[in-house]
Amino acid sequence: MTGPEKGLRIEARGLIKHYPGVLALNKADLTVEAGSIHGLLGKNGAGKSTIIKVLAGVIQPDGGEIKIDGEPTEIHSPHAAGELGFAFAHQELTDVPNLTVGENVLLGLGYPTTGGAFVRKRALRRKAAEVLDRLEAGIDPGAPLASLSIAQRRMVVIARGLAADARLFVLDEPTASLTDSEIDHLDRTLKSLRDQGVAILYVSHRLDEIFAMTDQVTVMLDGAAVHHGKTADLDKAKLIELITGSVIAVEKRIPHTTPAAAPNLMEVKGMTIPGIVNNVSFELKEGEMLGLAGLVGAGRTELMRAIFGADRAASGEVLMRGKKMRIRSPREGLKAGIVLLPEDRKNQGGVLDFSVRKNMTLPSLSKFRVVGPAPFPSERREKKAAKDLVGRLSIKVANVEHPTRYLSGGNQQKVVLAKWLDSGADVFIFDEPTQGIDVEGKEEVYQLMTALADQGKGVIFVSSEFNELTGTCSRILVMREGELVGQFEGVDISEGELVDACYSHEAEPLAAS
């Protein structure tokens, strides 16, 4: 395996890209060099993904040029991007779960064969292992990819780039749904790649990571690069100002507090899903915002889905205001007064091809009938309610008839929330609601959750970003390996305490195979 070539320099100058009705790139500039980790920041909709798609050859710019080592270059197709040595790790995993790790690492690079047809499995495994060893990933190349954690799968994607001798790595929100130790490992990996002379373009909404990992940053706003410079020359306040285009005071958030006398709203007793969740019990008070921290794979999502009825638990019960509920399906969960905003927004949250209006009214369609009990929804009444919700949640969409697919992540999340807002539910479970959402959008989501708690609803906030839990919740539960292992109370819970609770002494999440 030859090392990457030295001195790659990619310069994009004055890129312009029109989408119907919008200027996605407005003379955007970006320079990425070998041996540097380059952070790309900006709000959702600032043009980050568009510029990455140009580099990936997925779309062609309407204007501007790209120079690679001084040569004007057009990247016609994803294949051409591959030939240039560009590798992309997208936010959504783009690997093949039913193949093995090794088959994924070498996917498209030519497997070692006998007679050009029969794959030599052992040679393939050895070749993949060489690459994986460079990442110190400790992943067995023969393991089925589906058996890996999300963090390990990201490592496999990176290994694929390494195997292709990539000169430029573009990572789009690579740490979404990774935990701190996994992020540490990724950090070390990227820095070692950088030191080997690879150029790295790193897109993230997490400012702490930008400061910890990147050498340089480019900030985009409304399709143009508004700042380019060394990361070390910036501080958090300045960066936020650049991202939002205005001065926003960076205040320490004050967590929501629950009145001490608040009655119990929901009790979960002995929830068990064999091998995933083990005998979990907790209670939620009226008007409480309860945090649930843990590593990916700790069983948080599974626990929440079982409470809501999306999956069946082997045993355990849910009591609402002291009354035992029968919850065997989401329908019964909703009837019991529980709603779940799932982690996987794209695949579970909403019907993306539906208009904003249709998504918002989906669970409560029978409230919008034209007359009496006839099951004919009145489009006019639906529209009125949808417009009202768009206003209340300040969702950025020109028309409620637009397909939800075309909204940004933050606005999609708000649409998913909007459909439950007036449902009369008592318990709102938010599973990673701020994943892939920009700074302003996150703040809005926190405010919406807090407002629900202020109305006396019970809110459960599941997150892998512990600072957002400590900033919003005054009681936080920690799950590890399917069990509740800690509970923290007060307005000044520290992230460190949560992190400690998440790891048992022998835990080594990335080394598992």
Binding site: H18, Y19, P20, G21, V22, L23, A24, N44, G45, A46, G47, K48, S49, T50, K53, A56, V58, I59, P78, H90, T94, D222, G223, F308, S329, P330, R331, G333, L334, L340, P342, N347, Q348, G349, G350, V351, L352, D353, F354, K358, L362, P363, L365, S366, R369, P375, F376, P377, K396, V397, A398, H402, R405, Y406, L407, S408, G409, N411, Q412, K419
Partner: protein, 345 residues
């Protein structure tokens, strides 16, 4: 992967559109947008119009006549009933390949009940419609509740239904013994039009109302769009998928009965020829009005279009193989155009 990327990119773009887009930009992009949109939405309709004009010019004395129009509509009526029923399952992303056999079974059953068993024709019709519902229920239960793949389950069910048909009729061809009142259903007229046209019209209006005007229809589209999101929204996904199969079963039974009443005769396995044209019409229909989405108005256009092409080509004395080539080619083109339209929209 490429699709995925494009999707999220447009997401970015739209967010930005809301606050500050200049008039220049939006009109520039807008023009391309609307042209492509028109091509995607109405391309098939325009083509349909052109075909009508072409046939009318080539056969001015026989094609553009009221008589011919009624003939085409009568020919298309059973297909239309089948196709609008099929639209419902396809909306939910399920497949039903058994309805061709169900049409045959319904014909065989109604013939046996009336001719062999001397049953009253009204009772026979009710029983056969119930058989259709039962077959649909069985399909739906196995697919939705037991998790069978709808493609394979309904394919196998088709074989079973044909078996039942042959058991009832012993594969005999029957062309006498039908009471006149029964035959009137297929051959009589109402307000100057063949009864079948009216029945097909009512079926189309009912299915349109179901899918586009009722809560159930909205839920069905939600199931097709994202089954898991629909389930988490509290929608009875399994039950509604079963309802879809029942609708197809009943539609097939109705078509089977009508075909017997129309031809006053039964021949074994007569439904198979209706299977693929119904799919063709529904997929053609997804190329009009709402590109990329199955919809009843589109299905109606699809059925009429196929009917016109068929009749027109026959009038022009083309040989069967030419008709096959043209019909197949048009279907391929329409499906590809609808893909394009869906991407643009």
């Amino acid at each position: 992967m490429a699709d995925d990327l494009t999707g999220s990119g447009q997401g970015e773009a739209t967010t930005k559109a809301a606050p500050g887009t200049t008039a220049e930009e939006s009109s520039g992009g807008g023009r391309n947008f609307s042209l492509a949109m028109i091509a995607g939405k109405y391309g098939l309709l325009i083509f349909f119009g052109a075909v009508l004009i072409a046939f009318s010019l080539l056969r001015p004395n026989t094609f553009p006549t009221g008589e011919n129009a009624e003939a085409i509509l009568t020919l298309a009526a059973p297909s239309l009933i089948m196709a609008v029923g099929l639209t419902v399952v396809l909306v939910m992303q399920d497949f039903d390949l058994s309805f061709g056999a169900m049409i045959g079974l319904a014909g065989g059953a109604v013939t046996t009940f009336i001719v062999t068993n001397h049953m009253g024709w009204a009772l026979a019709i009710v029983l056969v419609l119930l058989m259709g519902a039962a077959a649909g229920l069985a399909n739906g239960f196995m697919v939705s509740y037991l998790g069978g793949n709808s493609f394979i389950i309904t394919l196998a069910m088709g074989t079973v239904l044909t078996g039942v048909e042959f058991a009832l009729t012993h594969q005999a061809t029957i062309y006498s013994g039908f009471p006149a009142t029964f035959l009137k259903i297929g051959q009589g007229t109402f307000l100057g039009l063949n009864n079948q046209i009216w029945i097909a019209f009512v079926a189309a209006v009912l299915m349109w109302a179901l899918l586009d005007r009722t809560e159930l229809g909205r839920y069905m589209y939600a199931i097709g769009g994202n089954q898991e999101a629909a389930r988490l929204s509290g929608i009875r996904v399994k039950a509604f998928r079963v309802i879809g199969f029942i609708i197809v079963g009943v539609a097939a039974a109705a078509v089977g009965i009508l075909l017997i009443a129309l031809s006053s005769s039964y021949s074994p396995n007569g439904g198979a020829t209706y299977l693929l044209p119904a799919f063709a019409a529904v997929f053609l229909g997804a190329a009009v009005f709402r590109p990329g989405e199955f919809n009843v108005p589109g299905t109606v256009v699809g059925v009429l279009f196929l009917g016109v092409i068929q009749t027109g080509l026959v009038m022009l004395n083309f040989e069967t193989y030419v008709i096959n080539l043209v019909q197949g080619g048009i279907l391929i083109a329409a499906v590809l155009v609808s893909r394009l339209g869906a991407k643009v929209a």
